[in-house]
Structures are given as structure tokens and as C-alpha cells.
Symmetry: C2
Subunit: 144 residues, 2 copies
Amino acid sequence: MTKNSKTLSSGLEDYIETIYIAQLKNLPLKGADLARQLCVSRASVSEALAKLVAKKLITYNSYETISLTQLGIEFAQNVYNKHHTLKMFFEQVLFIAPDEAGENACKIEHIISQNVLNRMTEFTEFCRQNEKFLTEFKKEITRK
Amino acid sequence: MTKNSKTLSSGLEDYIETIYIAQLKNLPLKGADLARQLCVSRASVSEALAKLVAKKLITYNSYETISLTQLGIEFAQNVYNKHHTLKMFFEQVLFIAPDEAGENACKIEHIISQNVLNRMTEFTEFCRQNEKFLTEFKKEITRK
DNA sequence: ACAAAGTGTTAGGTTTGCCTTACATTAATA
DNA sequence: TATTAATGTAAGGCAAACCTAACACTTTGT
């Protein structure tokens, strides 16, 4: 049974997303950095990177900076967009504090359907064009 | 290291939620029914029920109907409320079809924070009191 | 009441993702 | 440059959740 190459486990999505963000910021990223950021052991990182190499999502040789392949970038952008959509929705529509919005986004990004996500994007945008509604909602919740 | 008795794995939450729903409907539920509903083997159900008994969330003897303890009911209501909040939000605010709303709720209910959930409830309620906004949003999305 | 159907458990496996320990390799710095 | 620090990997384990196969027990239907 060959692996479905179209999907990644939540864990691998986290790895690839972290690598992507580092790459966006032009920060060289090594395995040990990943271990620190994701709070896992260097050994676990080593295993995970091997899987990502096998799936041709990253290129990596020991002691070098990890980098994403074109395919890896596509996967990463997909996850990153989900994260961003959720975070913006939580912050701008539901008025959740950035930290908590981010924490929820981190978990939900791996499981929510694309269709719901698209609708969230539309909703956030619609609210932006109709500011008064959210202003009223904010008044409502802060009054409590 | 003793287990944290305040939280359950996603899987066990699914078991207990299913048991709760059957109990609400007054439908007697056996292990084999659970296996069918959750699409797992009877053996897996047997293991899971043993864990729930150990945690004092259900009472159960072979070949009898499974039932929730008071503690189990509290856990189940908590999950069930989350599910309901999410499903209503997806359906009524984002206009997601019931099936898809339910599928997303099933997954997200296990990981979303209570605070975000509360805000969703407030938002859904607020929208209900301001129907025009959602009517406009619906127009917007169906126009595409 | 007894065979057939349904239900439950046990034993033994698999997979995934993590761990620690120990060791090897590379990089940094005194 | 010679240590020391940092990094990476391999081996061996563990725990959670699932599985199948085999067997035991209970319920149902004729």
C-alpha cells in the first residue's frame, strides 16, 4: 500500500509550515532549530525530515540548511493559507486575542475542509466592507 | 504518571458522545452498535469501553446496554455542546450544508478552545437578531 | 431446545510518532 | 589548532489506536 502523496499528517504539516516560515524570513533553519521550535527531540526531527525528503518536499543534507522543493512550497503555502485564514477570522470577526487565535488556527488548520475555509475568507472580507456590523458585535461582547 | 482525568483523547470523546446521543434518544446501545456507528472493529470498542469504565465515565457489563455515569454525562454534554455550537455556526452563519457542517464539527470539537466557542455562540446569536446582515452575505455568496 | 446469528474478549500485530541513550560528525572559539 | 559546543543519526523502546483471527458466550428463531 503506497502512501497517499496528496496529504500529510498534522505533524508533518507542522514541520513543513515551520520550514516555510523560516524560508519566508530568509532565516537559515537546521534540524536542531526545528526541534526547539516544535518542542520535540532532535531524533524526532531527524526521522521527520527523512520522511519529507522521501516525499520530495524538502532537500536536506546533514548540517545544512533545510529547504523546500517546489512541491514542498506548494504544500506549505496551502497549510499556511489555512492558518492565516483561520487566524484572521478569529481575530477580526470573533475578536479573539492574537495568541489564542493563533493557537486555535494551529490545530484547526490540519482538519478543516477547504470549503468552510473559503467561506470564512468570504465572510471576513464581507465584514470588512460592512464595518458597522462588527462594531456593533464588539459593543455587544464588551458590554458583558 | 497518572492519567489526566480532566481530558479525553479525541477517540474516547467520540465514543462517549455517541453513547450520549443514543441515551438521549432512549435507544439501547451495545458495543457492536458502537463498532458500526464509529466504523471500528468490535475489538477496538471492547478496548475503548474498558478505558471508559476505568475512568468511571460509563457502566457496562458484557451483553448489556452501555450507560453513562453522571460524570460521563458531564463529559458528553461538554463535547456535544461544542459539536452543536460549531454545527450551528457553520450552517447558520457560513451557510455550509448540514452534512459538511457536521463533518467539520466532528473534528474541530475535540480541539477548539472554549473561549472561541463561546464567542461563536454569541456571534450566531447576534446574527439571529440582525437578520439583514446574513441575508446580504448569502446574496453575496450565491451571486458568485 | 438447539442451531444459527450476533456479540464480546483475547492474543498477537501494525503503524505512527514520539522518546532516551549513545555515539559520530561538524562548527565555533580560546 | 585543539577543545568544547552544537548538531545529527542509529538503535531500541513505549504508548495509543487501530486491526484480524480465533474463540467464548448470549440471544434469537424455528
